[in-house]
């Protein structure tokens, strides 16, 4: 599947996540820190709900008229001398980009952070074609140097690593000799990457928002890497998910404002770059050749259906930072580059239920994600919707749930069996019961009681209690 990471089963991935105490505390403090900053940035405006409603109406309008806006965008990119390739599948996108790289005889490619190129596994394709691909976002760079470890968070990809681990990776792979101070590590990456920008043949970026009216691409960063990727190599390729588009600069304003506040609690990030086509005549920097690849890869199947609102997403990760389940299991547990609530909704839609049927269950349906979403995607309702689809249409409910339901169905359908079952429960659980708690249960209770207690079955059944009570009252 396109954005799948690793081959471990869901349960094993979660188990690994839960046992990684550094990762869990890093995730918890990230959630608290970013969450507070996001809240402060939203509160500061005083009318955040109105902003969210505006974000929602813009995204809904664009999705309802997506073919029109994409046509307009492509015309305007072409008018400015850019090439536009519409790719229905990841294979088509990868093949087009590979061909551009081969035609340009590219040896080195620098990239700024992009989830969509992770989704299509573009780096592997380019490396197989003989290119060296260098990620320039600091977090992505760390993961790449560490044998292409997958990202665990949409905006802070190396969140699960501590500075000592980064130091170790840099020492082993880059001959780094300094301390584990983030400043020194970042400076080393700056020095290594500066040379890469200046000698790269091609730059590749994702796309935060494309502007249909002018054919412009808007990139949002703090490090400034996207500016160098779009300014220095002679050829520039931008890959965009087909839904990441706004009508004009005026809607770009609103969505960028929602994105930076929701993602990191900043009014605007350090660099917002809005480029249009290749460099103009007589300009000395900027690309000579520009290619825009617009990717479907399963997105159109979501349009027009009950999950359409997930395409409103602007990838801010506010839902990830608010999710109590993500807090405990971390990003890699989702088995997809898209983690947290957005990942749990999107991954089964793009990658199928076979691989991702567990994800909609990795939620308490508490609705924290829905509350923080800047474009009002009803995330927890979509998770619930997935469960309905999995059980009713796909017949893919988790086996334990199926067995439990089947057993309950048999037991509850026969008054005799129900009577016996509920009567023997306290006796059957006696060996495992201390006081009124079970702390080391058998069978299906084992996993639960490894971490917490389970209440023991009541010695008096409801039916007996009711009968006795009626008797007492009568007397």
């Amino acid at each position: 599947m396109p954005m799948k990471i690793g081959s471990d089963e869901f349960k094993n991935r979660v188990d690994k996540g839960i046992r990684d105490s550094f990762m869990r505390s890093a995730v918890a403090s990230a959630q608290d820190g970013i969450g507070q900053r996001r809240q402060a940035a939203a509160d500061e405006l005083g009318n955040w709900e109105e902003w969210r409603s505006h974000g929602e109406e813009i995204r809904q309008h664009v999705l309802a008229h997506l073919d029109y806006y994409l046509e307009l965008l492509s015309e305007n990119v072409a008018r400015r001398g850019g090439h536009v390739f519409f790719a229905q599948t990841k294979e088509e996108a990868n093949e087009y980009i590979r061909e551009v790289a081969l035609k340009k005889k590219a040896k080195k490619i620098v990239k700024s952070k992009s989830m969509v190129t992770e989704e299509i596994h573009l780096n592997a394709v380019l490396e197989n074609a003989g290119c060296t691909v260098v990620e320039t976002d600091l977090g992505e760079y760390i993961l790449q140097v560490d044998d292409h470890e997958p990202p665990s968070h949409i905006i802070a990809p190396a969140l699960h690593k501590n500075k000592e681990q980064v130091q170790e990776v840099f020492t082993k792979k880059l001959g780094y000799k300094k301390s584990s101070k983030p400043e020194e590590l970042a400076w080393h990456a700056r020095e290594m990457l500066r040379e890469e920008y200046l000698t790269a043949d091609i730059g590749i970026t994702g796309c935060n928002f494309a502007v249909a009216e002018t054919g412009s691409i808007c990139l949002v960063t703090n490090e400034g890497n996207a500016d160098l990727v779009t300014a220095l190599p002679k050829t520039l390729i931008t890959v965009m998910g087909m839904e990441r588009i706004v009508p004009t600069f005026e809607e770009m304003d609103v969505l960028v404002s929602l994105l930076t506040r929701s993602a990191v609690g900043q009014k605007l990030t350090s660099y917002i770059t809005v480029f249009t086509g290749p460099r103009a005549e007589m300009e000395a920097d900027g690309p000579e050749d520009f290619h825009l690849v617009i990717l479907d890869n399963g997105r159109s199947n979501i349009l027009g259906g009950e999950f359409q609102s997930i395409l409103q997403c602007i990838r801010c990760a506010a839902c990830v930072n608010a999710c109590p389940v993500y807090r405990h299991v971390g990003g890699h547990s989702y088995g997809s580059i898209y983690s947290g609530p957005i990942g749990a909704v999107l991954s089964p839609l793009l990658g199928g239920y076979d691989d991702y049927k567990e994800l909609p269950y990795a939620s308490t349906l508490c609705g924290a994600c829905t509350e923080v979403c800047p474009v009002k995607i009803p995330l927890h309702q979509l998770l619930h919707k997935h469960r309905e689809v999995i059980v009713e249409r796909e017949g893919k409910a988790p086996i334990s749930e199926k067995l439990a339901m089947k057993a309950f169905g048999i037991g509850a359908a026969s008054p005799g069996l129900y009577k016996i079952g509920s009567k023997i429960a306290p006796t059957a659980m006696n060996p495992f019961t201390v006081g009124d708690k079970i702390s080391s249960g058998p069978g299906p209770l084992k996993a639960w009681t490894e971490f917490r207690e389970f209440p023991a079955p009541n010695k008096e059944r409801f039916r007996d209690w009711f009968k006795n009570r009626a008797k007492v009252d009568h007397e």
Partner: protein, 235 residues
């Protein structure tokens, strides 16, 4: 339209229209009258002085030094700031305002200083890469976020703001607007009037930074490590 410049479009867009349960949209769509417009209320009716105060406060949050000067004192103020950042080499845009504001001679005489020159083509990039300081002028300045807006053209290279270790923005006070909303409106106006849009519009908010290692903020990653905004009061 040139052949093959746009590939696979019809099949792709037909699929979208099909999924949306309708025919392809072929007639232009009017930009909707939005129900909500919260962005126009931010710092509404603020005077230039009030916007300046907001900008000053915001600079504290974006690790950016800030000062205000009268035009006549600009050369000496700039000289001080350049000295704080360790002097040249300096790279600037090719912009007549530098000489109009009395900076030309000073920049050339005091330090090793280069002006972006379209004739030199890519030599400009090498110069910017070696420069210690890049100096540009803000066309639109966003008070709310502390952002400088720049429009690239042949005389105003993109990399002047990104490759040097330190960045200085000269900000005419009159360029101050409440927020990115007004810049977006202006950008559309320019597009509608001229039919053109700059090949690269940069919104720059302080020096580059990253929190990718343990979420600890590091100022100065790929772009400048330090940034200084000099507001010119009587412009």
């Amino acid at each position: 339209m040139m052949k093959n410049v746009i590939q696979n479009r019809d099949e792709f867009l037909n699929q979208i229209a099909y999924r949306l349960g309708r025919e392809r949209l072929i007639t232009p769509i009017e930009r909707p009258q939005w129900k909500y417009r919260p962005q126009i209320d931010v710092l509404k009716n603020a005077t230039q002085d009030e916007l300046l105060a907001v900008l000053k406060e915001q600079c504290k949050k974006i690790h950016t030094s800030f000062c205000v000067t009268e035009l006549k004192n600009l050369p000496s103020v700039l000289k001080d700031v350049v000295s704080i950042y360790g002097g040249g080499p300096i790279v600037t845009w090719k912009d007549e305002r530098f000489s109009k504001w009395g900076l030309d001679m000073f920049l050339k005489e005091e330090w090793e200083s280069y002006e972006w020159d379209p004739i030199k083509e890519e030599e400009n990039i090498k110069i910017a890469e070696k420069a210690n300081i890049g100096i540009t002028i803000s066309e639109i300045t966003l008070a709310e976020s502390g952002t400088v807006v720049q429009f690239t053209d042949k005389n105003k290279g993109r990399t002047v703001s990104f490759l040097p270790a330190a960045y200085i923005a000269l900000i005419p006070k009159s360029s101050l607007v409440p927020r990115i909303t007004q810049a977006a409106v202006k950008m559309r106006e320019i597009y509608h009037t001229t039919g053109q849009v700059s090949s690269c519009i940069n919104f720059i908010t302080g020096p580059s930074n990253s929190a990718d290692i343990e979420l600890k903020l590091v100022v100065g990653v790929h772009g400048p490590v330090q940034a200084y905004y000099i507001v010119i009061n009587d412009l």
